[in-house]
Symmetry: C2
Subunit: 506 residues, 2 copies
């Protein structure tokens, strides 16, 4: 019989659930114990009064709960609950539990192109690199299953994102139903929380030959197929959910957009929706041309029923004040993708302005417009971009600058709000899923004496990555060092709904 609970002990760091407007969040840092029910993968409680470094304190705590420590193959006495104990990092390694990252915008199918975009910007990049790659996810013959490439790439994407601590991802797949279903199945099997969307694109003016929906009804009917598949795969939607995915206005007819809007609202609760908006100036002009009757880009989505509280709009670099007001009014969400916006030269997204408007924002990697599948990298880039926005202001107040804590807020709490799961993921509150990563920054750099200084040249110690802790740093400083120089080497383990889905090293 499986253990009733898993008890995690050590340091738990998270961001506050709510930030009053005009204040900067501080890290919530607690040491103690937190236990997760293995029945539903949810946090059952925590106790920050237990000293996690004292074995006796742990023993006492376990006894006080009436639990017995679980042993494989040994059944507990009737009625006695069992517990497995997991330590938060090895001694002296600066370990801590952190909420799993939420990637609110990632194109799983584009992953093999990560880092390949030459000097292109959005529209030529799509035609030169992206569409040909996505096209290769089609089955050889209609009705057949996805090609081997889809298995390879989708497994790799899941492995990579998990290894970087991403516990929830909102994926764009391709237009192909079998490959999209496969992505959903793999996420379900591997245990990554995911929204999986079949990409819709029926506008032949912009879409390439041989990679588009035949007509607007196909956008809707093929999406429906995927929705049904995912609902069968995960009837309660505990891990994987469908998401309606019109690529973006330039690739979709008004009929397809409206059909998808109706489709999303025909379910109860309404389905999630994801698309792109105002990423690039030329794209904005193109939408103006294609939808000349609409007041703006956001209005195109609004008029077709796609601007909802469950809609994720990626990018939003060039929204007008009127569009921002509309997005806010509809409570639609924004996925900020700074690495992508810089890499494709799309521009500097004015995140502070969006935040001041009260719009809900999370982070996205936007692979492969973004070059990295890491939300830690996205957090870093969000900080950089905000500093560059500040540098462009005529009067520099520094307010535009995102703090490290704000970036991490967007990466966890913000992302949870964006996927409309703020009560379920993004933090360590009771009743939330235990979606978490165990981070280890590594041991402090030791003093090197004169005599031995020539010995360190070819030393072969364990690779704990590029964060160097010297020993004098407080937790805020250590977290800053993690954000700026951390990578997947610092991610020792990842859990989704309490299930271990990635671990690293011994």
């Amino acid at each position: 019989m499986a253990p009733t609970y898993t008890l995690y002990h050590g340091t738990f760091i998270q961001l506050p659930r709510h930030i009053p407007i005009d204040t900067k969040p501080s890290l919530g840092i607690n040491t103690g114990v937190l236990w997760v029910s293995n029945r539903d993968g949810k946090i059952d409680g925590f106790d920050w009064s237990v000293n996690p470094d004292l074995e006796e304190a742990l023993d006492l705590f376990v006894k006080s709960k009436g639990w017995s420590v679980w042993r494989d193959g040994v059944d507990a006495k009737d009625g006695v609950e069992t517990v497995v104990i997991v330590k938060g990092g090895r001694d002296g390694r600066n370990g801590f539990f952190f909420p799993g990252f939420i990637d609110t915008h990632i194109h799983a199918s584009q992953y093999p192109n990560a880092g390949i975009f030459g000097s292109s910007t959005l529209l030529d990049w799509l035609k030169k690199y992206t569409f040909p790659m996505e096209k290769s996810f089609g089955a050889e013959e209609e009705g057949e299953r996805a090609p081997p490439q889809a298995y390879t790439v989708y497994n790799k994407v899941i492995s990579r994102t998990l290894s970087h601590g991403t516990t929830t991802a909102s994926y764009f797949a391709t237009i192909h139903v079998p490959a999209t279903n496969l992505l959903a199945a793999l996420c379900h099997q591997r245990g990554q929380r995911a929204f999986v969307g079949r990409v819709c694109m029926d506008n032949l003016v912009f879409c390439p030959d041989e990679y588009h929906d035949a007509f607007s009804e196909e956008s809707v009917s093929a999406t429906k197929e995927v929705i049904e598949y995912i609902h069968k795969l995960d009837p309660e939607g505990k891990l994987v959910a469908p998401i309606v995915t019109p690529r973006f206005a330039p690739t979709c007819s008004h009929a397809a957009l409206s059909g998808l809007g109706r489709l999303a609202s025909s379910y109860s609760p309404a389905l999630h929706i994801q698309t792109h908006i105002s990423e690039n100036k030329n794209e904005v002009l193109l939408v103006k041309e294609l939808f000349e009757k609409s007041e703006g880009y956001a209005h195109v989505y609004d008029e077709t029923g796609l601007l909802t509280p469950r809609t994720i709009l990626a990018h939003a670099v060039h929204l007008t004040p009127e569009e921002r007001a509309l997005v806010k009014k509809r409570d639609a969400k924004i996925s900020h993708c700074p690495a992508s916006n810089s890499a494709l030269g799309s521009g500097l997204c004015p995140v502070r302005t969006l935040m001041d408007d009260g719009i809900t924002i999370g982070l996205g990697t936007d692979v492969s417009g973004g070059y990295s599948p890491s939300i830690l990298e996205a957090s870093r880039q969000a900080c950089l971009v905000s500093r560059l926005v500040a540098s462009q202001a005529s009067v520099t107040t520094g307010r535009e600058t995102l703090s490290v804590e704000e970036a991490l807020y967007l990466a966890t709490r913000g992302g949870a709000q964006v996927v409309d799961m703020a009560d379920q993921i993004g933090g360590f509150e009771k009743g939330m899923y235990f979606d978490a990563q165990l981070i280890e920054l590594g041991p402090a750099v030791e003093s090197i004496s004169h005599e031995s200084s020539h010995d360190v040249v070819l030393g072969g110690t364990e690779d704990t990555g590029n964060v160097d802790v010297f020993g004098w740093e407080n937790w805020e400083e250590k977290i800053a060092k993690w954000v700026w120089n951390g990578d997947d080497r610092n991610v020792r383990a990842v859990w989704v709904s309490g299930r271990l889905v990635h671990k690293r090293g011994v």
Copy 2:
């Protein structure tokens, strides 16, 4: 007896030595053999007609040269030259030799602060984080040796930069002579090519209490002490050289600047000089105020004899056209530090404009204004910044955008020009020092069959980093993937003057 030569075989990738203005460089990709004389660490020749994958071809080549393969403890016959053979990467691991990176601007003493700068910008960051850290490198009592902290930090900086493939660094130390000498000694001992500068700052208006030169003569005399130490340490200047280092105009009196200018020119050849220029708008205003008689920031350095062909000016984000013309006229060099400029919100350096002016540019990490000691990260950031410059242009031609190859050019050839060693480092020409890194991107991602797809969750294969090669990429694409997602895990070995100074794994 040591072997006469080391023969490296495999793929060698480099940038062209000269790029005609208005053209973009292409990668120079060759496979074959290259041999280095172990007498002086210089490249003695190469032959791209030898197939490095065929053992017989290697044997034949070695015989044709009249060499015998070196065996430890076995002396070759009189007059016979011996050779050690080094393979460029393991089979199927996408390995290649690349010129070592040149970091033209790094503050070794600030390394423990990497990633810690809060929301500050240049001037408050210096006061809050940087000066206190630098101050701690002082000896307890005058005349004593450097504190243990200096050993620890400087060794760590050398280890980290070597591990990222930096074979040459131009270091700022602190104002302390013993610690600066120590840095030079450690570089010499560990085998990293370095310029080491004792930081000069005597302007009490800006400098903090207890961390400044007592008077302008001290700036000069203390610098002289370090120069003499380094000249004794490395009389021929084969590995480590002194560099005159006025921190920047706001911290220096006119007398100190002039004294240092005279000092540099009193040597033959004239000494290298390094300082900062026009990093931040408020700094530019401050210089205007402090040096009201000067026409501009660059003019302050020119008037004090500091604007020379051997001068490295870090940043140059906000130079006026007149200043750019002056810098070009004096043939002074610029160290572009994009990670730092974004992290401190200094602004977007218009690199293309500087290049079009014909100014020589290299890359700098600017640790710890820059958060990372990696020049690969600086290359990536240079690409991102140039794309953002392009996005700000009223008409976007895409010309502003640095290609991956241009960024790597700056990281190697450009850096070599900046430190006035273009004939000696930065490429694989005959007669150059073998300053090189062996990169392995890792094996191609393999197809995963349906059946085994659930086995990959907790797999524990060798960690080859975040670059995923799928097998269809040409070298240009693999290099792009390296620039965008590579890190120190891809650096298998590093040589300076043919000496192995870093290796990774087995």
